[in-house]
Amino acid sequence: MRMKYLATSVAIFSSLLVLGWVTHGTGIVKDDPERNIVIPDELTSTLQVKAAFDGEKIYFRYRWPVDRPAIFNDVLVFQDGKWEARGGEALGPNPDFLTEDRVAMMIDDGSVPMFGRYGGYITIGQGLTTFTGTPETDEERTKYLPSTRTDPNKFDTVKPESDLERLRKAGQFIDLWQWRSSRSNPLGLADDGFVAEERGGDAGTGPYTTNFDKATGQPKYMFNPEVAGKTALSIDAVIAGDVGFNDAYYLSAETAVPFDPSLEWKNGDTLPRRFLRPTSGSRGDVVMPKAARWRNGYWDVTLVRDMDTGNTLDDKIFRDGGNYDLAFAVFRNSSTMRWHYVTLPVSLGLEQPAQLVAERIEPGTNPDWKQPWIEIKTFYPGQVTWGRLTDARQHPGADRIAKRVPVAVRHSEEQLALYGVQVEFAKEIKRQWIWTLIASLSLIVGIGININLLMRREEDAK
């Protein structure tokens, strides 16, 4: 009879273990917009890249999967006599697809310490915009290089201008190329910027300006009806994805005329909140051979730049036979800010051994792109700061960072994505883990007492 009690106890114990196994990891990780937390459905994805150069120009071709392209960024919608801004920034994916898709590439020539080993992680300081707990500020708190701060972990401790200039001259900046599906692509342009004391645009003008006059509360431009066949789009058509590449969907000198407030505007009339224009100066160094189109579930984008732009304080200069470090970010499914997919650093060689080898082409010709794609895993990085990674009290691998062990030696992209998510719930998960430890220990003690009480010796039976 005592055997029945024993068997029942072991069955209960085993069942609880199985139940624990099945239910573990639930109940904590979920979207929490109050704390700026939105977890992407997919934590990893893929970016394909190729590169070529002809001694004068360097080309990069990018291809990445997107279920539905977002060709609009922020828009102005006429509603009850007012033009209201919609879209642009959003927490996580924009359900109305009013946040553009993007690809960004950071470039370094070896001047920035640690970039080649840790990539974009070195640019993530404390208290950046959209990070949990960061108060909303008028000015965006962007990524920055640790060397530009007296205390690398404090955003507000920017070094004096003279120090920043010295650092810049020493090459302590990252070149940043950005392609935007709405704010640069229609004109075959990109945006040339940098990361140093901030993430900013190079000298010159970028490919877009704001199509809104704050004084009048009205747009500055509308569609030219002679070109577009209408003066505005319909918000329903925009959200439904009924406006495509063959429609006039962007405002530029070719498609727009000055806004006419006297027209009879009706609710739902929609205009892009950005007016596209040619770029100038160093900011306009990166262009496209032609505007990209989304086809068969993929964006396929090619960017080109002079290898030597002459702008040595803005751009990293590519030299024939040189090696460089790259890191990419992909914004897909209509997401922006920190809801992007990033890559670990990737080495680039101009006809040199590297992870990504740029092929030499004949001067003045276009690449035939016959070389195979390089597949690069992209991942959601969460909210992992450089300060956290380099602090031995918070990261067991801090000593290995101090010894310059590259991140890829110890962590895979999948792992980093999972860690990134868990950091967003660090306190809650740790608390739950401690309780789990206590509860499971109590269960082991329980079965121990149980068996000791119920098991019997042969002599007990006599």
Binding site: M3, S9, V10, S440, L454
Partner: protein, 251 residues
């Protein structure tokens, strides 16, 4: 010569035999002690050599005043794992066999398991000296390793106590299946703890991947939802109650 033909006094003979046995045991003990000491020295030497990282030492923010190279923990961890798995092997053999060799091996189960538990405590303590507790408990993999190591150690402590208290009775009748089930669970937690340790040092095994296939990505912290915590605590109480009631009814 007369001594040779002299009839030995039985009690003297027994004492002599006893003495010889003790001497033999002492000799064996000394040999084992020497070999063990030599192995420990060799191991420590290897650990020290392995921990010499080379290069230039760099100050790290928040670095603890004292920490021990992981190699010591890794080195020592093989002892409890080996001993516990040996105990499990003996349990397996005894569960399925009543042969003489199985019965003999059964006698070694509790000492081997208890030695494993002893080595387990040393390994656990060494493990806690590698990283600051604040850091290792921030790492999902670190948390999981601590969790599984705690389970393993506590579980095999229980198993050692059971082994010591019940010895051959563990395999009497249907009780052998209880022993077998509990030991199998014990072997599983050892395996998982070991593979997590490997993953933590950057060498994940196929076991790590296999755990993912059956529902646990080890790079996610293992934690239970609140309702399961309640179920676990209740389960612990229930098990104790069943034990007490069962014993009283059949005392």
């Amino acid at each position: 010569m007369t001594q040779l033909t002299e009839t030995p006094n039985p009690s003297t003979h027994a004492r002599k035999e006893d003495h010889m046995k003790r001497s033999e045991l002492m000799r064996r003990g000394r040999r084992i002690g020497l070999v063990t000491a030599a192995l420990m020295l060799a191991g420590t030497g290897a650990a020290l050599a392995h921990s010499a990282g080379g290069g230039v030492d760099v100050a790290v923010e928040g670095e603890p005043a004292f920490s021990l190279s992981p190699v010591y923990h890794i080195l020592v961890a093989h002892f409890p794992v080996g001993l516990w798995m040996t105990a499990y092997l003996f349990i397996l053999i005894r569960t399925f066999s009543d042969a003489e060799i199985a019965v003999r091996l059964q006698k070694a189960i509790w000492p081997v398991a208890a030695l494993g538990t002893l080595a387990g405590f040393v390994t656990y303590s060494l493990g806690l000296t590698i990283y600051p507790l604040s850091a290792i408990t921030e790492s999902p993999l670190g948390r999981n390793h601590i969790m599984l190591a705690t389970w393993t150690l506590s579980y095999w402590t229980v198993m050692s106590i059971l082994g010591y208290r019940f010895r051959r009775h563990l395999f009497v009748g249907a009780q052998r299946w209880v022993t077998f089930t509990l030991a199998t669970i014990g072997a599983m937690v050892i395996t998982i703890t070991g593979t997590l340790g490997g993953s933590l040092t950057g060498t994940p095994s196929l076991v790590t991947k296999s755990l993912g296939w059956i529902g646990w990505n080890v790079y996610m912290t293992f934690y239970l939802p609140n309702w399961m915590l309640v179920v676990f605590f209740s389960g612990a109480v229930l098990l104790v109650v069943i034990g007490v009631v069962g014993r009283r009814r059949h005392a």
